[in-house]
Structures are given as C-alpha cells and as structure tokens.
Subunit: 450 residues, 2 copies
Amino acid sequence: MKNKHALIVGGGLVGSLWAVFLAKRGYKVDVFERRGDMRTAGYSGGRSINLAMSHRGWRAVEKAGIQEELRQVAIPMQGRMMHSPAGELTFQPYGKEGEAIYSVSRGGLNLELLRIADQHEQVRFHFHQKCVDADVESGKVRFEHALSGEITEAEAPLIFGTDGAFSALRGSIQHRPRFNYSQSYLDYGYKELTIPPGPGGSFLMEKHALHIWPRGNFMLIALPNIDGSFTCTLFMPFEGEYSFEKLQTEAQVSAFFQQFFADAVPLMPDLLHDFLQNPTSALATVRCSPWNVGGRVLLLGDAAHAIVPFFGQGMNAGFEDCTILDGMLDVMGENWDEVIPLFAQQRVPDANAIADLALQNFIEMRDLVADPEFLLQKRIAALLAERYPQDFMPMYSMVSFSHVPYREALRAGKEQAVLLGRIAALEGIESQLEQHPEVDRLFWEWKRQV
Amino acid sequence: MKNKHALIVGGGLVGSLWAVFLAKRGYKVDVFERRGDMRTAGYSGGRSINLAMSHRGWRAVEKAGIQEELRQVAIPMQGRMMHSPAGELTFQPYGKEGEAIYSVSRGGLNLELLRIADQHEQVRFHFHQKCVDADVESGKVRFEHALSGEITEAEAPLIFGTDGAFSALRGSIQHRPRFNYSQSYLDYGYKELTIPPGPGGSFLMEKHALHIWPRGNFMLIALPNIDGSFTCTLFMPFEGEYSFEKLQTEAQVSAFFQQFFADAVPLMPDLLHDFLQNPTSALATVRCSPWNVGGRVLLLGDAAHAIVPFFGQGMNAGFEDCTILDGMLDVMGENWDEVIPLFAQQRVPDANAIADLALQNFIEMRDLVADPEFLLQKRIAALLAERYPQDFMPMYSMVSFSHVPYREALRAGKEQAVLLGRIAALEGIESQLEQHPEVDRLFWEWKRQV
C-alpha cells in the first residue's frame, strides 16, 4: 500500500473530477494548474466548443456522487436540427424517446467541478503552476509559477497527467524508449461565434437540439447555454475555395454568411466582430502508448487521447477513464502497481476507436446529414432499434447512450453499415419502410452472420 | 537571393553529405554536431547495424563528386545467403547479374564523409555542440557545449536539421500548430554482435552476400567489413517465448545460439561477452510533416523520416533527399523560398512509402525467405524481369537498383504481388517454370490491367 498522496498535473475537467474520486478514497491530492483560479479570474472563452455530455460522462459524475450539481448546468438535446441553405429545418432524433445528450459550457462545467473538488479538505489546488518537466522514475515534477517565475518541485507516490492534448507531463515521457506517439491535424480549423439570448433570457432557436448547418466541406453548429444563448462553431478548411484564408475582411465574412447561413445571420449581431477577433484554432488527434510509467505515473483524458470534437465524446471518454480506473480499484483493491499498467494497456484500443469514430463523424455531420441516402439509413436504423430492441442498437446509440466499449461500437458500426446498405438498396423501401417484406429477412440473415 | 550561409544541425551521414553539396554551391556552412570529432575520438559502435548502400545512395555521392573515395570502403553483396537451422546455405540474388548492394560500416562512412566535407574551406565543423532549442521563425539555434556547458547562439538564413531520428531541431518545430508527427516502435529490439576476420584478414563466410538466419519471429544477419570481419545483428522480440528478456545469462544465450544459429557460433568467439555487454536497442519509425518552416528551415534524413532498417534504405533515402533537393536547385535556381516548401511537400509521400516498405520487409527477411511459396514467387519475378526487361522490374529492384520514386515502388509492389500469386498458383509451375505455357498469357493479361 502506497502513502495515500497523489499529484494531479492539470486541473481541467478530467483532473478536477479525478481529484474528487481520489479524495473520496481518502487520498491527499495536490492539483497543479497552469492557469489562474477561474473562480476569481473568470473563464477565458473564444476557442471553446460547447460540450455534449452523454451516458459515459453522466456515469462518471454519478460514481463521483456529484450528478445533482451538474444537472443544473446541462441542457438536454434530443436530436440534431438541420438547417438547409434555404432555412428549412429538419429534426433527427439521436436515440429513442427520452434519450438525449446534454449541452454544457466547458467553462461552466470546469468551474463547477473545481468548486466541488475544492470542497474536499484533502484536495489542494495550486494555480499558475506550469509543469516544466518531470523525473517520472523518481516521481518528481517541477513547476514554474507563471507570475513569480519561482520553481517548485513536487513529489508523490502517484502522479496523474490530466494536462490536456499538449500535456507537458507527457512531454517528459515522450523521450523514453519505446514510447509510441502521434499527433495528427485536420486541414480544418474552427472558430467560436455566438447567438446571444433573446428577450428575457429566451432561446431564439429550438432549445433542445444541436443545430447544424451542413454545407458539404464546412459546417456551422450551435449548442444551447442556460442563459438563453447559443455557442456556435464554424468548422472550415484553413485553405481552399471556401476557407478561413478567404475570409479576411468584413465584406468577405458577411457575404459568405449571407450565402450559406442566411437564417443564422439575423441572430448574430456581433458576427463580424467575433469572426475577425476570435482565433482560428486547429483540430488534432493525439494517440500514444503506454500511458503509464510503471505503477506510479498515468496519463488520463486528452493527455492520453485527444480526439476531434465531432462525436461529442472527448470529455465523455476522459470521464469514462475515471469510471473505469476507479472501478478497477474497487475490484482489485488499491494495488496501483497492478491497476495502473492494466488500465493503461486495456484502455488504449478504446481510445483509438473513439478517435477513429470522431474523425468519421466529421464527414457525417458536415456532409452526410444533408444526404437523402444517409437519412434513409438513419430511418432504417431507428426502425430496427424499435423493432428489435434486444438485437439492434445503432452505433451512435452505443457510443452516446451505452457503456459498450468504444472498440465494440466501432466494430458494430462497420457491421451495421453493411446491413443498412442492403436494406436501403431494396426496391421501394423509401415509401414503405415499415411494411417492406424483405426487411426482417435481411435483418435475421445479417444477424446470423455477425 | 539569400546571403550564402547555412547552418546544419547534425554532422552525421546526411549532414556531412549535404554540407558538401552546399559547399560546392559556394555556401559558407557551419555544421554543429553533438558528439566529439570522431577523427580523434573514434567511432563508438555497439549499436550500429551495417549499412547497405544501393543505387540511390550512390547517385547522391556521385552528384557530390565523391564516389571514388567511398567505393574503397564498400563491399558489394550480390544477394542474400540464407542459413537454415541445419546450416545449409541457399543463395538468392538481389537483382540481375552485376547488380549489388554495398556493405559499409556506419562509422567508416561517417568518418570518410566528415573528412571529405572538412576539406572544403567554407565548411566548418563544431563538435560537442548539442542543439538545445531554436527560434525557427528568426533562424536562431542555441547550442550547449557538452564539455564546457557554454551556450552559443548561431544564426543563418538557411537551417538544415539532419540530427537524426530524435532530432532536437524537430523538437522545436513540433510545438508549432498543425505539425503532424508520429513515432512508432516495433516490439522487437536488436543487438550488435561480431564475427572477427579469419587468418590474414580473410572472410570466414562468403564475402559478397548479406547473410541471413531467418527463424520466423526472429533473425540474425551479418554484413561484411573490409577488414574481413562481419557485423552481425540479432533482431528479436523484447518479450515473449524467444526474446531478449529470456536471454539474461551466459547459459541461456549459449543454449539459444546453439539451438538456432549453430553454424555461426564457432565464428563468434566473443559471443557471450558481446551479447551481455552490448545494449539492446529499439526500432522506431518516425513520420512528420511539414518538414519545413517557410523557406528557411528544413529537416532532412532521419530527422524527417526515420525508418526501420529492414530494406537497407534509411541512409539511401536520406542521401536521395540531397540529390532531389540539389536537383530542384539546379532547375529552379537557388530560390529557397520556393524550393524548400516544394521539396518538403513532394518528398513526404515517398518517405512514407519507404517506411511502409521497410516494415513489410521485416516479415520477408525474418520469415518468408525460408518459405517455399515465397521463394517460388522470387524465382517467377526473376524470370519475368529477364524475359520482359522493359515491362517488368521487380519491386525490390525498383527500390534498390533504380530511382523510381518510392511511392511508385510501393504501388507497383502491390500490383506485382497479384500477378506473382496467380502464376505461383498454376498447376505444375514449380517444375516447369521456364516452359509453362500459361505464364506469358497471365503476364500480358495483368500488364493490360495495371
């Protein structure tokens, strides 16, 4: 049994949540965070896509015993609301009746988690502490105070790296032999925009939906906030015909939005200012292994597996790390020397699977959701899920509304694509989906094969 | 036109060769090397696989005008000599009559290149200078002297990073937005061993061959040196049934070699000492892009594209970087702002292709070269190359004995595999390869399709 003391490098979403888990196990926890205390300094937005919390995220906060507080800052979204170029709306539910993903602002959620973690006496936050490097064998981490420049060294028998996609702690592991690592960028960037609240904090569009303006090679999305506003994000290539590179002046931005997002323009009074002031950010996938150094150091969340945001699973995957790791401690006891290597080994394929699924979903969101064939397949999947609830769970639902390992969802999604393609190819299926005599036969034939 | 001054970070094989190219163009060149001067300090071996120089490498040294000096340290190897577990030998030529790859020791080649580069008045080597970091926008690089600890800053309008697979210069680029990077390790390691010269500098095995002891999941290879010795390398998993982990004692090493490499054991008097003293090294593939920062900074060789050694193309690919880059300067003039980004963009797919081919060739060397079906396909490929010299060049020859872009060789190899599989499946082909009536028909049918 180790001395019950842990360092957490990075006090973001996963770091704060994991501090709660450890505190509940009676650990003394020191959380080192590069930024200042957002309770006093505020949260700096401008490059934060809203988060969509789904089953995996909820299970983690339930296991930590803090779901009640978080329900209050979350807005259920039952489906996608597609906005056509002409402004027509089409709603596509995410799952069955009552299933939803939940919009939360990253800043709001982080504040709440920080507050909850800090209520535990044995959790101590250290702000403005930038991780400089670490001697991972001896368990020592060095920090530089962002304001004073003072160097501090901290040490503990357990060190968790939750310092995000550009993890400094991972940087110290990266030079060790046999560390596999990749960072891969999309040629697309994103920019945050805002639709402010209507009169009296009202919502100017449907509140309980994730809004999408799919336009083939680019898209705009909008997620609701509790104050009545929507956080919007434009995803677009950096270079090319329609690209950030081509939108440099107010006139260019204005013409582009009028052409492609005409129904959104009247809702965005600060569009031109926001567009030209807010940064254009890049989208990366980070994969690595191993996530651990022995039984002492472990990367979690984006530090271990950063993904693109198109499945809304980045935070959910990081929170699920906490659930699974905590569950292993429940079963195996706090034998960190066994638990940490086992967790690190078993979780990697799931992290790789959700990375792949998130990349796939980008194509779905920006392009396919406007495609009749794709929409037909979604209708077929919904029908099968309703007709055979024990035998067919659509891949999207597996990811968002279940705890099936991501790698299983990826595999199932590939198999389902075959079936959906076969059914969609049936003569007359579009008009008589519910009654078509071949659907059941094809379903059972497929079911016997998979 | 820029001030004719360049920094080269890393004075290994590619850095020294590129210094010669630049010197011949009249550039002042400062080469910064982490290690000491190997002309006085000697070359530290123990973890260096011998190199196999082939057409691409030779073309580069020819273009630099230094092939005569290098021919003297190179030994032609016309094919693979396979050693069966019972000690039977089988020879398999690499190409046509007169085609060979050339064994050179890394240390010997590096020494020679350094000597040649240093003969140019405008080339200056700075030893013991470890690259600490770089401000790639302003073209400043900082070095720390390994002995004195003194920090130097160097600056030039052109900076080339040839500091190998673990490039420090690349480290300074890696944190820039949209830099794609991956490092991926095999679960296999390698260890250098030696067969010393026979009496009077004689060779104790066939001199003009690359010797292979293929054993399925592991293998031993040996390449000749001009002093009559062979540099041997054992490739084997780190963990598992037959692995480095399992070979910890003299008794274990001795029993293992007696079981699998009985004919080599009498030739290796220092086997046990070497095995237990020499390090076990890891094998990585490094890919990244972009290799450049504007028209000012460029990675070359292993710093841009480190590959596993199984196709003998690592150094050849790095040298070909020099040929191609120098060729673009011939054609486009020394417009670095255009040449560097264009080179960096066009060369990446070729680097990725040879990385893939090198990984593939590992399976071929350790396993397939002992497989009758594989050997039959090699015979078929040789026959086709002889019968249709204009229409069929085996993939191995494309890589080793031509200047076809690596990406083309990769593509052609996949197509050829289809044809070779079809011919190998013909009834009675093994015994009547030369006369089989179907071979020509299948060849021309395939040729029309590709």
